[in-house]
Structures are given as C-alpha cells and as structure tokens.
Subunit: 335 residues, 2 copies
C-alpha cells in the first residue's frame, strides 16, 4: 500500500511562502485586507504545493460544515429524486453540498439517520418523511433551527414547510369524484403506508358515503410506495374482489403496479377497472394506457425547500409554509 502522502496544511503554505498561517488563511478565504502582491504569491504557492483546506478543521472552529442533509424515503422513486435534484442545485449555488440519507422506507433507519444527523455534521436538514409519527419526529427536529419539512407540517412552527396545498385526503376526494363521474361506483383505495393510515381509511369511507358510492372498508389497503408492492397489493385486491371497478393508488408507482396487475388478471383498463395515481412521474404519461395522476411540481418543491432552509440558516426564523397546487391530469387509465 502506497504510503498516504502527508496532508499539506496552511502552515506548510505559510512556511513556503514566508508568511504566517493567518495571512494564508485570509488569502484562501478572501477575507480581510491583503495586499495584492502577497495574495498572488500565496495563491501561487498554495496551488504549487497542492494545498487543500481541511473541511474537518474548518468545521471544528467555524461550526459550519457547509453541508445540508436531505432525508428521503426512497431515492429510486423519481418523485424524491427530483426533489433532491432541486435541493442539490440550490445547495450547489451557495457552495454547499448534500449529505444524502436514503432511509429505504425503513422506520428504524429514519430514526437513526435523524439522530446521526445531529452530530453536527450538517448545517441544515430537509426531511421528507411521511411515516415517522410526530412524537418521534418532533423531538429530533426541535433541537435545530434549520429544518425544513416536505409534505408535512410541524406543530409549533418548529420548521418551515413545503408541501402540496391540499394533500392526499383532498386528492382521494378529487380522484373519487372524477372516477364516479364516469360511472364507477365500487372502488378501492390503496394509499401509501403511513403513520396516519387510520385517518386515511376514515376519510375514504366518509368520501364514499358522501358521494354515494358503495362502501367496502376492506377495499382500503395500505401499501409500500413501490411498483412491486402496488402490483402485489393490487393483484390481491382485484383478485379477491372482482366486483371493484376502480382503484385509487397512493402514488404513481403503486398505481402502475396495480395497472399491470389488472392487465395480468385480464381486466381492461379503464373499462373494467379505472386506475388513478399521484405525483405524475415521467412514467405516468408513457405507459399504455397512460395514467391519470396528480401533478406536483417536485423540482420546484425541492428547490424551494432548500431556499427556505438557507433562509433559516441565515438566521431568519420567520415561519413559512410554502404551498403548491396539485393538478389532476386526466389520461386514459381513468378518463
């Protein structure tokens, strides 16, 4: 194993340049008044001997790591990937980098990550977690000023929030109304596995009763937010309840899984079963039949979340909740 080359430090540069470490520091950070001559000279030496500042040392004294943390449940879901992209672009503009924590939909990992993140390894955090219950999430974030939540509000204005205006309960209603309009009466609901699942189910039943659709509590089944889970759950539901004529999926991946399950079971979509999703990922417009879904401006949301975060990091603690409208995009799967 090649011996690791000894790190080049500020002091090395100073010695080489015939100055003090402090002067070098000022040159490197472009802070304080420095004569043009020494600046040029120091820069040259630094470049020549390959000096790179140590983030760790810097962080230790400045208490800033120049990193923001992004916690997402599943980076392979284009919905979150696009949010992360929005965050990353904003961070990049400000010289920050992104510490990605992908919790893989695992609750324990989410907690662990949130706890890890406290080790002051980041200056701010953006959290997309729809599953962690408030009792767990709140203690973890209340220690920090700089937190932004996506698609979730924090009681007591502990964190800024970016979310879609109306949320999944609203979408359920809109989707239900839409599907009813085309004559469907017996439809299921396969929402994301969620900390407030019961509320979702209650809402589902309420909506059905208000709209005068048939009520089948057993047609409400929670589901992991993946294509595979959507397929399995959808298959089971369609198989055991052949009477159903529509299914509202919790997100697009789930809905696409259901779509495929329906096709595999020989159901025609939308004639036998109408299907709707949510998030309007690229896939939604491309499949056949194309998927009726709700459009949410994910990139903008990630970008805005980062902006709100930097605002907090700069000390402006004004509480802000930024809302984005969701829009039903009607396509073939539920015309």
């Amino acid at each position: 194993m090649t011996p690791r080359r000894q790190r080049v430090t500020l002091t090395d540069v100073a010695r080489e340049a015939g100055g003090s470490p402090m002067t070098v520091s000022r040159v490197i950070n472009d802070t304080g008044r420095i004569s043009a001559t020494t600046r040029v000279h120091v820069r040259a030496i630094a470049a020549q001997i390959g000096y790179r500042p140590s983030r760790a040392a810097r962080a230790l004294v400045t208490k800033r790591t120049m990193m923001v943390g992004a916690i997402v449940p599943d980076i392979t879901n284009p919905y979150f990937a696009t949010i992360v992209q929005g965050i990353e672009d904003q961070a990049w503009e400000r010289g920050y980098s992104v510490w990605l924590a992908n919790t893989n939909e695992t609750l324990s990992r989410e907690e662990a990550v949130l706890s890890q993140i406290e080790e002051s390894s980041v200056d701010g955090r953006i959290v997309c977690s729809y599953r962690l219950p408030d009792e767990v999430l709140l203690p973890l974030i209340e220690k920090h000023e700089a937190v932004v939540l996506i698609n979730r509000s924090a009681p007591g204005h502990l964190a800024n929030t970016v979310r879609s205006r109306n949320g999944y309960l609203y979408r359920l209603r809109v989707a239900a109304e839409h599907v009813l309009r085309s004559g469907k009466r017996r439809f299921g609901y396969i929402p994301l596995r969620h900390s407030a699942f019961q509320a979702g189910r209650d809402h589902y039943l309420r909506v059905l009763s208000e709209l005068g659709a048939e009520e089948h509590p057993e047609w409400c089944v929670e589901c992991a937010p993946t294509w595979q889970a959507g397929y399995t759950t959808g298959y089971a539901l369609l198989d055991t309840s052949p009477a159903g004529d529509a299914i509202i999926g919790g997100n697009d991946l789930i809905a696409l899984g259901i779509l495929r399950a329906a096709q595999d079971l020989g159901r025609r979509v939308p004639d036998d079963v109408a299907i709707t999703g949510s998030d309007d990922i690229l896939l939604a417009a491309q499949v056949k039949p194309s998927l009726t879904s709700f459009r949410v401006p994910t990139y903008a949301m990630g970008s805005m979340a980062a902006q709100l975060l930097f605002r907090r990091m700069a000390g402006d603690m004004t509480y802000i909740e930024h809302l984005y409208d969701e829009e039903l995009i009607v396509r073939e799967s539920a015309p």
Copy 2:
C-alpha cells in the same frame, strides 16, 4: 432567533460523571478496557445530558470522516438512483454515510466536485462519470487510494472498477444484429454524449459495414441522457431522414424519448421504425410498445462498488475489476 444551545462535549460528560474525558471517550467508542460500572454510569450520564460526538473533531484527529462520496451525473435517472441505493445500503451497514454529488451532466460541475471531494471530506469515492476525459479524471483520482469507478476503467490500476462486461460498443453491435434480423437495413444511432464520441461513431460505421447495412454517418447523433433530449434528437433525426427504419438509443430514457417522437411523427413502432434502449429501467417494460433494452444489474453494481471501496479503504489495494453481463431483453419496440 432562539440562541443555539451550547454543544455538549466529552468534557461536559466527564465533569458530570466525575471522570476524565479520556474515560468517556473510551466508553463512547467501546475501545480499551473499562470497568462495567463506569461504563454504565458514563453511558447514562451521556444519554441524560444529550451528548453527541462531534464528527468534525473526530475527523480532525482520526482523519476519517465516516463518509463515502458518490458522484453521479443524474440522480433522477433510475439507473443511477439504483446504483446509489446499492452504495447507500452497503455504506449504512458499516456505519458510513453517503455524500451525494449530482453533477447534472455538467462537466464543470463534475470537475469541481471531484476537486472539492479532495478536501478530505470523504474516506472514499465512487465515481460514475462517462464524460470526463481521462486526462482530467486521472489526476484527480490518482492522489487517493480509495476510489472505485463505475463503467469505466482507470489505466494503471489506480482504481477498482465495476462495469458491465462488454460496454456500449458491444451493445451497439448486438442491438444492430438483432434489428437486422428483423429486416431493418437503415438505422441510426443516438448514443450518450460522451468523451469518446468519435470512437462510438467509428464503431457504428464499422458495425454497419460489417453487417452490410446502409451507412449514413449523419444518422449518428450524440445526445444528453434524458428523455427530453432523446425526444428532440430523435424527432429531428426521424423528421429529416424519413428513410430510417430503426434507431438504437444510448440509454432507455433516450430511447423512450425517441419512441414518443416516432409516435408523434406518425411512425408505427416497430413496423416503420424499430427502437432499442439500454439499462432496462422500470419504464422500459411498462411503456407501449414496450422497449427492447439491455438489462444491467444496477443495484448489484452499486453494492459491489461499495464493497470494493471498503476493501480499498481497509488497505487491501488488490486491483479488482468486477464485470457484470448485460442481457438483451427483447420486447415490442424491436421484436
């Protein structure tokens, strides 16, 4: 703005527990011999006053940050997202976290990131970059022992490599042969924008001539690896060269863009134009017509890359090049 609570340090715990910082350090890190009593006691105090080790301080002295860097061109491409997931899972198992750098297909950003990453902010690096030319990439990685490249080899065995066995030139040939078999003779090639574009074009012409297909150098157009770029490029190519009867896309996103462009231009796929992609992302099987593509085990590749990285980080500098076979998945777009 609420005043930031003062950080709880090792010394605080020591004072509170009536011991020395060193003892606390040993307890926290589970190192050295510590009596059971003091261990329990110190742990209790630490938990009680909410002690969290400072990563920065630790990193400064140990020279390890417990982070690995992952550099990818586009996190919204499921291909890379899945690789990152594989990396992340491995890192997580070892108590490491992932520093994500998404370069957005921007060369300058790739260089900047690679350079940033030198500030010893990570203990190892996994680099997916097919565009950065060797002359730029090599100097940046040769300073480090712990680098793994994905889909790219480093001369001089400077870094371990994980890649598909045969690469894009091979795929071009296989796809061409496949398409020819169904009677297509005039086909274009829309590869990824790439540092070795010229080699790709030469290879394209060579393959065409060897296989006895018509040669149209102008039907080889490089393209950014996005759906949108695929659409635009494909549209232009199909529009200006109506005679073409097949297009080989550089990846699935591109191919899907081409697919849509063909449809918008009123061409039947595959009858008028056959289309193939690469990577076999989820989308490929779901669109209509479904996309003929090459399957690559992305998750396994990410996971393996991380494993090779940790191996290097542990000091085992054996050069390893891990290959994965690509497999042509024949679907409707090019039967």
